[in-house]
C-alpha cells in the first residue's frame, strides 16, 4: 500500500532565521510531487521534517494519518522503514563497499540469509544500471554513480515513499537525464509515492506529476507541469524561466 502525506501550517526557525513560515502541502498515494525553489528557500529543511530528522516549531505532518511530529524515536524508526531517501551527495557510508551500502538496511532490518541479501543487492544494482559494482568503495565512484548507488540503497527495502534531495544537482546533463529516467521508471514500475526537491526545471517537468513552488517559507504555487508552464504568477514565471529580473531578487 502506498502512502499519502499531508503537511499543514509547518513552521521552523533556526535562531533568527525563519525558514518555513506555514507550509501547506499534500501528496497523494502513488503521486510524484516536485518541490521547486531557490537555494536557501528551505526545501531541504522541508524534506527533513517529513522523515522526522528535524522537529518543527509548529504545524503538523501526517503520513497515512499518523502524526510524525510527535512520534517517539521507536515509532519514527518503524515509519522510516517505509521510506527511502536519496541524499544530495548520496551520503554513502564511505567505510563500506557499494554492496555493503545497498545491503545495509537489509542486514539491519531483515532476517534474510546472506545469499538472499546478495541476490537482492545484485538485482537492485542492476535496476539502477550498475551491475557488478558491489566490491567498489564510494571513493572510487563518480558523482552520478554515487547517486545511483544511493538510489539502490533507498530502494533495497522496497519503500512506499521515496524522498529525493536534489537528485540531479552536480551532474552533467546526460547523467542528470539518466537519473530522471530512473526516477520516472521507479514511479511507473513500482508505483511509489515520491517527493523530490530540485531547482532543475528540466528534471522537475520530467519526474513530477505535480509541482509546488516554495518561496520565503511558503508554498506559493501548486499545479501540473503544464499549468506551471502556463502560469501568470510573476514569481513562478521568473523561476521557471531562470531570469534574474523580476520580483525574486537574488541576495
Amino acid at each position: 500500500m502506498a502512502v499519502g502525506i499531508t503537511i499543514t501550517d509547518l513552521h521552523k526557525s533556526f535562531g533568527a532565521n525563519h525558514v518555513l513560515r506555514g507550509v501547506d502541502l499534500s501528496v497523494e498515494q502513488g503521486e510524484s510531487l516536485v518541490v521547486i525553489g531557490g537555494s536557501g528557500s528551505g526545501k531541504s529543511v522541508l524534506i527533513k521534517h517529513i522523515i522526522g530528522l528535524l522537529k518543527p516549531d509548529r504545524g503538523s505532518i501526517e503520513v497515512n494519518g499518523q502524526e510524525v511530529t510527535t512520534m517517539a524515536e521507536r515509532e519514527l524508526k518503524e515509519l522510516r522503514k517505509k521510506f527511502g531517501m536519496l541524499f544530495q551527495a548520496a551520503a554513502l557510508f564511505d567505510s563500506l563497499t557499494v554492496g555493503e551500502n545497498v545491503a545495509f538496511p537489509l542486514v539491519e532490518h531483515t532476517r534474510a540469509r546472506r545469499s538472499e541479501i546478495a541476490e537482492r543487492v545484485r538485482e537492485t544494482l542492476t535496476l539502477v544500471g550498475l551491475p557488478d559494482t558491489e566490491h567498489l568503495y564510494p571513493a572510487e565512484l563518480s558523482g552520478g554513480m554515487k547517486k545511483r548507488v544511493g538510489l539502490a540503497r533507498a530502494l533495497a527495502m522496497e519503500p512506499e515513499v521515496i524522498l529525493y534531495d536534489e537528485p540531479t544537482t552536480g551532474l552533467d546533463p546526460i547523467m542528470a537525464d539518466a537519473i530522471n529516467d530512473l526516477i520516472v521508471e521507479m514511479r511507473e514500475r513500482l508505483a511509489i509515492t515520491s517527493i523530490a526537491i530540485t531547482h532543475d526545471m528540466v528534471s522537475a517537468y520530467k519526474i513530477g506529476h505535480r509541482l509546488a513552488m516554495l518561496y520565503q517559507g511558503e508554498i506559493i504555487f501548486t499545479g501540473t507541469p503544464q499549468e506551471c508552464k502556463n502560469t501568470d504568477d510573476p514569481m513562478v514565471r521568473q523561476f521557471i524561466t531562470g531570469s534574474s529580473v523580476g520580483p525574486i531578487t537574488s541576495v
Partner: protein, 270 residues
C-alpha cells in the same frame, strides 16, 4: 522611552563584563558537560539492547588499542627511563637509591600510566573519532543512518565506547610495564644499581591497590575519550573547517576532562 543600547552598556557597573563573561563560561562548560553525560547515558542504555555489533566493536578495538601500541611503547619506555634518571639523582641525596624501583613502579601504575596513556590516546584515537563521525555528519551520513532506521548511537558510539573502556586499561598496563622495563634498564646499566635489590624493592613496594586504582582510572579515561570524541563528531557543522575544529576540541576537552577526573578519582580512591 528606552535608552539606546550604547548608553545601556556604558551605565553598567564596572565589574559587570568580567563577571558576565565568567558566568557565561561556566554555564557553557556545564551545559557542554551535561550534553556529554546525556550521550553517555544513551550509550549505556544502547549497550544493553540488541543489535550487538561485535564485528564493529572488534574493529574499533583494533583502531583504538592495537594501533596505539607503538606510540604507547615509545612513550612508556622513555618515561620510565627519565624517571629512573630523575629519581636516582634526587634519592641519592639522602642515600635512598635502592628505593627507586619501587617508587617508579608505583608512580607509573597509579599516575603516569593511566594519565599519559589517556592523553596520548586522546590525541590519537579521540581525534580520529571526532574526525570520522564529524565527516559523516557533514556529508549527511548520520542523517542517512537515521533514515535507514539505524540508531547512530548504537551503530557508531557503542562500539567506540566499548573499545575505549576495554582497551584503555590494557594500554595503560602496557605503558606501566614498559616504563618499568625502561627504568630497570637505565638503573642497572647506566646508573649501576644492583639488579637484585632493584627488583626486590619493586616487588616489596607494589600493592594490589596501586594496580587496581590505575586500572579504574584508565577505564574512566577510556569512557571520557570515546564519549568526547563521539560527541564532538555529532555536533560538527560546516564542512572541512568544522571537522578540523571538532577534532581539536575533542582532544582539548578530553585532555582537560582526563586531568580533572584524575584529581577527583585520586582523591576518592586514596
Amino acid at each position: 522611552m528606552t535608552p539606546p543600547p550604547e548608553t545601556a552598556v556604558k551605565r553598567r557597573p564596572l565589574l559587570a563584563r568580567p563577571v558576565e563573561g565568567l558566568g557565561r563560561l561556566l554555564t557553557n562548560f556545564l551545559s557542554e558537560f551535561g550534553a556529554h553525560l546525556l550521550l553517555l547515558f544513551r550509550t549505556l542504555r544502547s549497550c544493553c539492547w540488541p543489535p550487538f555489533r561485535i564485528r564493529l566493536t572488534l574493529r574499533q578495538m583494533e583502531i583504538f588499542g592495537f594501533n596505539s601500541i607503538p606510540v604507547v611503547l615509545i612513550t612508556g619506555g622513555f618515561t620510565g627511563a627519565v624517571l629512573a634518571l630523575q629519581t636516582f639523582t634526587s634519592f641519592k641525596r639522602f642515600n635512598a637509591e635502592t628505593m627507586i624501583g619501587g617508587v617508579i613502579a608505583v608512580t607509573l601504575l597509579r599516575e603516569l600510566g593511566p594519565v599519559l596513556t589517556g592523553l596520548i590516546v586522546a590525541g590519537r584515537a579521540g581525534s580520529a573519532m571526532a574526525a570520522e563521525i564529524g565527516t559523516m555528519n557533514v556529508t549527511e551520513q548520520i542523517d542517512a543512518l537515521n533514515v535507514l532506521a539505524t540508531d547512530p548511537v548504537n551503530y557508531l558510539v557503542v562500539p567506540r565506547f566499548l573499545a575505549g573502556t576495554v582497551m584503555m586499561p590494557m594500554l595503560s598496563t602496557l605503558f606501566s610495564a614498559i616504563g618499568m622495563v625502561g627504568s630497570y634498564v637505565i638503573s642497572v646499566s647506566v646508573l649501576g644499581t644492583n639488579p637484585v635489590t632493584y627488583m626486590r624493592q619493586m616487588w616489596w613496594f607494589i600493592e594490589g591497590e596501586d594496580i587496581y586504582t590505575g586500572l579504574i582510572k584508565a577505564c574512566v579515561f577510556g569512557v571520557i575519550i570515546s564519549i568526547v570524541g563521539s560527541y564532538q563528531g555529532f555536533i560538527t557543522q560546516g564542512g572541512a573547517e568544522g571537522v578540523g575544529r571538532s577534532t581539536t576540541r575533542a582532544v582539548v576537552l578530553a585532555s582537560t576532562f582526563i586531568l580533572i577526573f584524575n584529581y577527583i578519582l585520586t582523591a576518592l580512591l586514596l
